[in-house]
């Protein structure tokens, strides 16, 4: 699922609904009266966790931050608080959970980075355009799928077609693995440019990441098409268990 473009707030401060004091955007509690702050239209999950906008994240550190913030926001601890604080706790907890979900996984982390950098990985222009790097594979796969469908309708032995489907799947899988490696090195590139604060380098890395992500979405769709065809062929088509979702 590609997220909606996240509206990044124009204002840079929050107002405490309890005492009326202003608070910086990334604060969770009012610096004046220490009550939990209602969430604004925030947008930056990295800042929310107190992390720099870098793609390499230590999983254990992220988890620790998540648990720590959960302990401070969770509605369980605001049962006796005022309605305003209870609502703030509910919204801030929801936001924390969304943020954690996005940053935990490396791909959704990149999607989020692109979104807050103003380069969302969605195709507003002609959603079905095949990425040039994939033309060859897509062409071959579609031809093979057409043939398999025809044979299936003609009553060919499903086991035989399953084998052909598995073969057709291989090059796409390889493409995906290659992609993952490319994405990894681009992520490292972004982090390096971020540390050097090199605007041109950062922009180039983002552009490349965006391109890879669009391709990746396309690959995912291709694999889903193969799975669907396998599903029609019968329950044994792709092994005994459904694949885990990301």
């Amino acid at each position: 699922m590609t997220p909606e473009p996240i509206p990044v707030s124009a204002v840079s401060t929050l107002e405490c609904r309890n005492c009326g004091a202003g608070a910086p955007m990334d604060e969770h509690f009012c610096p004046q009266c220490s009550r939990i702050l209602s969430i604004g239209r925030h947008g930056d999950y990295f800042a929310f966790f107190g992390l720099p906008r870098k793609l390499t994240i230590a999983q254990a550190d992220l988890e620790r931050r998540f648990r720590d913030l959960s302990r401070r926001f969770h509605p369980d601890y605001y049962y006796n608080a005022s309605p305003t604080e209870r609502l703030a706790s509910l919204e801030r907890s929801s936001y924390l959970n969304d943020a954690y979900r996005a940053l935990r996984n490396s791909m959704s982390r990149i999607e989020h980075l692109l979104a807050i950098e103003g380069m969302p990985a969605t195709r507003s222009d002609g959603a079905t355009k095949v990425p040039p790097a994939l033309l060859e594979e897509v062409f071959a796969l579609n031809e093979e799928l057409d043939e398999i469908r025809e044979l299936r309708e003609a009553g060919t032995d499903p086991a035989q077609l399953r084998a052909r489907l598995d073969t057709a799947r291989k090059p796409i899988e390889l493409k995906r693995e290659e992609h993952e490696r490319q994405v990894e090195s681009l992520a490292a590139e972004w982090d390096a440019h971020f540390d050097k604060n090199d605007p041109a380098g950062k922009h180039a890395a983002l552009e490349a990441l965006r391109e890879r992500l669009l391709e990746r979405n396309y690959i995912t769709n291709l694999l889903a098409t193969i799975d669907r065809e396998a599903g029609i062929l019968g329950p044994d088509a792709k092994g005994p268990e459904p694949e885990a979702r990301g």
Binding site: E63, S70, H74, D76, L90, S94, E241
Partner: protein
């Protein structure tokens, strides 16, 4: 402020617990029994019976008694038609609407039936606190547990039931998660836990990660229609196959009772007997031996059905079975040896069952209730939503907004616009489930967004926000972003009660409350009367009774006792509580002398034959 308790509202049994001096404990009745059978029965005079008494009435007034009502919570008639055929009570309602359960000449929704059970538990807890001499004994708030795999409608129905019972439901907690909390109390270490919960009617699997006192659910799965009830049904089919003709509902309940006993026996023994006493339905009675091997063959596919959700939950959590550090068994059906064996084999380790699987969920609910009101922060439950939430889009396809296994609270946003010029309202259909098409998912509600400012088609930008709270219950809000006008939303729950319906039922339940309270007092009076009758009859049957009459009793005393006994028996069948109490006292009084004589004789007999030194 009154007391706060944790309640396990189960398919077969329910129970209540609370935290006392920092440790959770279940509340038992005078006989030490913690379980209240989740059975409700409507007396011929309109009184409501709950628990053991209602369970007894299943055998004598089947059509006026309802059990396993949890299976009907938040469901429509279309969902339950198949299983309703086997049940002694009437199951009706509008097609596509809430199930209605007919008992005698009255009709109840499942939340109303559940409310009777909750009220009984509330009463039990209040009696307990009163007996402990607490001044503030009223119970007004509770944490109530539900199967993790319950959908929004089923959770909402449970919350409605609490409201109808006069309880503020502080939190709906998932049963396996509650159980993990009870286990976690004395295990402060970290690890991955799998909780396998097979109850009377539902199955759940939850995979949790425990670290620093945070119990984080990674994935959950289950089947809200799989449990001990299904085992019973397989055994009943085995018996019913012997009888080709129609059998009265009462006899079916007698058979059900017999197969449940055999099922329990087979947890400890290699062989058991299904034994039904003779009754008008089966004049010769029924006996059949069943070995554990035969039993296991019979239920194997049922237990196997729990394995697919387990594998799916593991896959969703991104874990292999071998990565599970501890497996925990919850629910009465995990006493079945085959279940323990299959769970043990899957995880490659012996599962934990140190805490009574019937009580562990209520204990966890009590711990959660304590966390909520005390603000203790050592432990925190982070649960997930079991099913994806989505809305119907063009062509009946579901667009997912919040994915399953998202940590709750969770929120999601979706933008809507209009299709024709000056359109001022938009209809939205909210669904829960994993399937692609709306028709295959669970319909939760239909919303109508109103008050959209008239604009050209496609111009309005209406943002609809879906919020799932920590109970796993959905709420929806919307606003038009160009004008910042908040939209009003009309909710029509697909399989639930509207607020107005709950309100009306609440008023009705107050009207019935006095009758229900009276019924309770009558039951108590009858129990006391039966105790006195049993004791008297025992004395009258003593082999030395004739000798006692001749040597110790006054003339006419025997006759006075017999007539007092007959008087009490005569009023016992009625509902006049004062008469029952009066005759009970009269019998007590008439037999006091006899009781003294019997006591003295017993003491003398006990001492006879001993020498002085021994005394």
């Amino acid at each position: 402020m009154g007391k706060v308790v944790g309640i396990d509202l189960g398919t077969t049994n329910s129970l209540v617990a609370y935290v006392r001096d920092g440790a959770p404990e279940v509340i038992r009745d005078g006989a030490g029994d913690a379980l209240v059978p989740s059975v409700v029965s409507l007396g011929e005079d309109g009184t409501i019976f709950v628990g053991r008494e209602a369970q007894r009435r299943l055998l004598t007034a089947s059509s006026r008694s309802v059990y396993s009502v949890k299976r009907f919570m938040g469901r429509g008639l279309d969902d339950v038609r198949d299983e309703a055929a086997m049940l002694p009570f009437r199951v009706g309602g509008e097609p596509g609407g809430v199930v209605r359960i007919g008992l005698g000449d009255r009709e109840f929704t499942p939340p109303e039936i559940s409310a009777f059970i909750l009220r009984e538990l509330k009463q039990r807890a209040e009696d307990h606190f009163r007996e402990r001499g607490e001044f503030d004994f009223e119970v007004d708030r509770a944490v109530v547990t539900v199967p993790a795999y319950f959908n929004d409608a089923q959770r909402t129905a449970t919350r409605d039931a609490g409201r109808l019972a006069g309880l503020e439901v502080l939190r709906i907690v998932n049963e396996p998660t509650a159980a993990s909390l009870a286990y976690g109390l004395d295990r402060k270490d970290r690890g991955i836990i799998a909780v396998y919960d097979l109850g009377g009617g539902t199955f759940d699997i939850s995979i949790l990660k425990v670290e620093d006192g945070v119990f984080q659910v990674l994935a959950t799965n289950g089947d809200t229609h799989l449990g001990g009830d299904d085992v019973d049904r397989l055994l009943m089919d085995l018996v019913l196959a012997q009888f080709g003709r129609e059998i009265p509902a009462e006899t079916i309940q007698a058979i059900r009772k017999a197969v449940i006993q055999a099922k329990w026996d087979l947890s400890d023994l290699e062989e058991a007997e299904i034994r039904v006493d003779p009754s008008p339905g089966i004049p010769d009675g029924f006996r059949r031996r069943i070995s554990r091997i035969e039993f296991e063959e019979l239920i194997h596919s049922l237990v196997e059905r729990t394995m697919q959700p387990v594998r799916q939950a593991l896959a969703d959590a991104g874990l292999e079975p071998s990565e599970i550090d501890e497996a925990v068994l919850v629910g009465g059906s995990t006493r079945i040896p085959l279940v323990r064996r299959m769970v043990g084999e899957l995880f490659g380790r012996t599962p934990h069952s140190e805490i009574n699987p019937d009580e562990v969920v209520a204990l966890g609910a009590a711990v959660q209730a304590d966390i909520l009101v005390s603000g203790r922060r050592e432990m925190l439950l982070l649960d997930v939503t079991p099913l994806s939430l989505g809305i119907e889009t063009m062509g009946g396809v579901v667009s997912k907004i919040i994915l399953r296994n998202s940590t709750i609270p969770a929120s999601g946003r979706e933008m809507f616009t209009t299709g024709v010029d000056n359109q001022t309202s938009v209809d939205i259909h909210v669904l829960q489930g994993e399937r692609e098409l709306a028709g295959d998912c669970r319909s939760l509600a239909r919303f109508r967004l109103r008050g959209i400012p008239p604009m050209l088609a496609g111009l309005p930008r209406i943002e609809v926000k879906f919020q799932i709270d920590a109970n796993g219950i959905l709420s929806v809000s919307a606003s038009e972003l160009r004008t910042s006008i908040a939209q009003t939303i009309e909710v029509k729950p697909s399989y639930g009660l509207t607020d107005e319906e709950v309100e009306r039922m609440l008023i009705e339940s107050f009207e019935h409350a006095q009758a229900d309270f009276d019924a309770r007092l009558i039951i108590e009076a009858k129990n006391e009367a039966e105790t006195v009758i049993t004791a008297t009859e025992k004395s009258l049957r003593r082999p030395d009774f004739a000798e006692i009459v001749a040597r110790d009793l006054q003339p006419g005393e025997r006759e006075r006792m017999e007539s007092a006994l007959a008087d009490l028996k005569q009023v016992l069948g009625g509902t006049d509580r004062d008469a029952i109490q009066e005759k009970t006292h009269a019998l007590n009084h008439a037999t006091r002398h006899l009781a003294e004589i019997v006591m003295n004789r017993s003491v003398r007999e006990a001492l006879a034959g001993r020498n002085v030194e021994e005394i």
